[in-house]
Symmetry: C2
Subunit: 451 residues, 2 copies
Amino acid sequence: MDQNKIILSEKDMPQAWYNILPDLPAPFPPHLHPGTMKPLGPADLAPLFPMELIKQEVSMERFIPIPDDIQRIYKLWRPSPLHRAYRLEKALGTPARIYYKNESVSPAGSHKPNTAVAQAYYNKKEGVTRLATETGAGQWGSALAFACNLFGLKCTVYMVKVSYEQKPYRKIMMQTWGAEVHPSPTTLTNSGKAALQKDPNCPGSLGLAISEAVEDAATHDDTKYSLGSVLNHVLMHQTIVGLEVEKQLKIAKEKPDIMIGCVGGGSNFGGFMMPFVREKMKGRNIRFIAVEPTSCPSLTKGPYIYDYGDVAKLAPIAKMYTLGHGFIPPAIHAGGLRYHGDAPILCLLVNKKLIEAVAYDQKPVFEAALMFARTEGIIPAPETAHAIKAVIDEALKCKASNEAKCIVFNFSGHGHFDLAAYDAYLSGKLEDFPLPEEKIKEALKDVPKVD
Amino acid sequence: MDQNKIILSEKDMPQAWYNILPDLPAPFPPHLHPGTMKPLGPADLAPLFPMELIKQEVSMERFIPIPDDIQRIYKLWRPSPLHRAYRLEKALGTPARIYYKNESVSPAGSHKPNTAVAQAYYNKKEGVTRLATETGAGQWGSALAFACNLFGLKCTVYMVKVSYEQKPYRKIMMQTWGAEVHPSPTTLTNSGKAALQKDPNCPGSLGLAISEAVEDAATHDDTKYSLGSVLNHVLMHQTIVGLEVEKQLKIAKEKPDIMIGCVGGGSNFGGFMMPFVREKMKGRNIRFIAVEPTSCPSLTKGPYIYDYGDVAKLAPIAKMYTLGHGFIPPAIHAGGLRYHGDAPILCLLVNKKLIEAVAYDQKPVFEAALMFARTEGIIPAPETAHAIKAVIDEALKCKASNEAKCIVFNFSGHGHFDLAAYDAYLSGKLEDFPLPEEKIKEALKDVPKVD
């Protein structure tokens, strides 16, 4: 009988993360200080991050060992399985071989704990007693709550108020793991107070929640800030995913032709594909496809420029494909893909034509999600469903051209807390949000002038 | 570094179920016809079940091969991991070694698909095109929806109306897998119509939903009925769990001293422990502990007598520990444990002193659930949390007596759809429901007179 899953034993779990910085095809454009516009030094970041993470952010070491205490926690669910999607292949009638890396098996239900655990560990080690962060739909907040709890750190989550009210389950999940969750804007920070003064019924936004979490960390000695995507060290922690896939594909005697992932901030796709960039740079023909929503099309429609990381201009300025830090995307269900920019590392790889990008509307994405749920059984998160839509399209191209390609994608998370979106789709109430070009042009007016 | 999980490869997945009937310490008391009170023959069951399952219900073969098509679907998530609960042990300061079999990794989130897939398969094979079933909180309904979808069967789920309204996510999950879900009572059956005529606002009950599903199956030629627990063949399909545990403990070089599971209808605990009964009957000292809620204490407070399986007296009469088929337990959050009786096989083993039973109140159960979520990371279903409470108690006894026992329990499902219960617990709103003895005596007045 054919093998359905390739599973590594715990002793085969990678023991170092892969750092792509020394292998990039061009020098990494440094992050800039939002005030001075000069390259950031460690001292600038020290109020927000522990020194070890600041070092990782700019390290030129190709491999960074994963401390034992992090490995022990990873092993609560890692190594994660690589599945062969036989049933999806059959339903499509494609000669392509489709594999998916199942990151939904973590206790928080996504890839996010891979970096949350690492960040909690390094903070704990440097004497930090509390982490502050923001969350939108709640994937990241719950991952950090999970990680902080295991290291005995306090965790304060600023959750966008409209999500706090609409997605009570994610909030309860964080509280179950001991986190304090506040609907943002709060009266706990100046940024929050200012927003509430302007509009007492302010529904909140991710940008505002970031500002609150950053302010909380910057104004409390025992507290640091934690970010769930975009930054170099975050993507590096996620390479455990791609390094496992590398070993698993070897066991399956496969070489990937196409690797696909969804991109919000870029950490799941980055961690999944970066270890394979080395092979591509050696001349192997691998296509990497980043998938984003048409409602937030930074890679497909944005310019490659320096922009602020947040609305309040408190976070570092980074070079990336961006829709403008003031851009507020339509309320699609894939909340994790609603970031105005993208991880600078990924953007550089897109700019150097190592990664392709594609964007999809919400309705065909849910059609793909349903097909996956009904063939492979697992219900995908709306974010993950974007990757699935691209996988199906590529598999159908293989059918048309009769090519037996090997397609591998990252199943970044399950949709157990997103079933309201499925309900909307099944009852015909799901909407698409075509984005007028003017809206992007408008938001791009306020980007910083950087040489 | 210590191993956290024992994982079997797909080729080591058991290829036959274990049937305990030939190994029971006493003859199995036959199911009786609810009308004639005579032992049921195959013809009596034929309107409800396919012949292969009817045969399995009374088979005296010790092992029944698992068909390839079922094995293929099992392998979407099986073999499931056996985890060592190092963090829980440490938090308790116990010398006991605690292991848990993680059945929450199935797409439906519990052990239920182990039998749902088998039942869908045999029905499909015998030309059935639709299955009807009932569901309370939705664990079983979603497992059957998942299984029917994979075999191209239609699935009709009668979901207790109050749950249908309170737990919309489970309903959407079933619909995502293509099932038709009706809030019960409906106007589609005579049982439903009668209930609505009595009370147009009737909130429904599991007993009533069973009657609707049974009637649906009995009155449609293309449709059969499917039950998620209690029956012999259902417990047998679940032995895949215990057979895997057997192999995994061998790899870990462990022999269990205590095996624990929660009991509603009895299928998760039965499937988990039955393969080990053989060892106990050979003289090995294993304690089996069945855990139930004090609100529905059939094993700890009920008599061992013949009783009806459902309120409407349509289902077979079976010999079991029962609180009376008319008993309506308080609305605890562990909906899966609210059955008036228990699997006849388990009851026989309890009666023969091979299994102990213990009952817990809801609040200490959630305290245990929280401790587990905060040490091992996974959030347990309220049903599963009953087992965890017993595990913690036994581990603390080991601490007091300084005995390094090996405790193994079945982690039957995750609590992703039960977070409202955690919210109630965390905010101090959870109630216990002490059950007056009179209420049990009252419900027992109406049991059938069987010699």
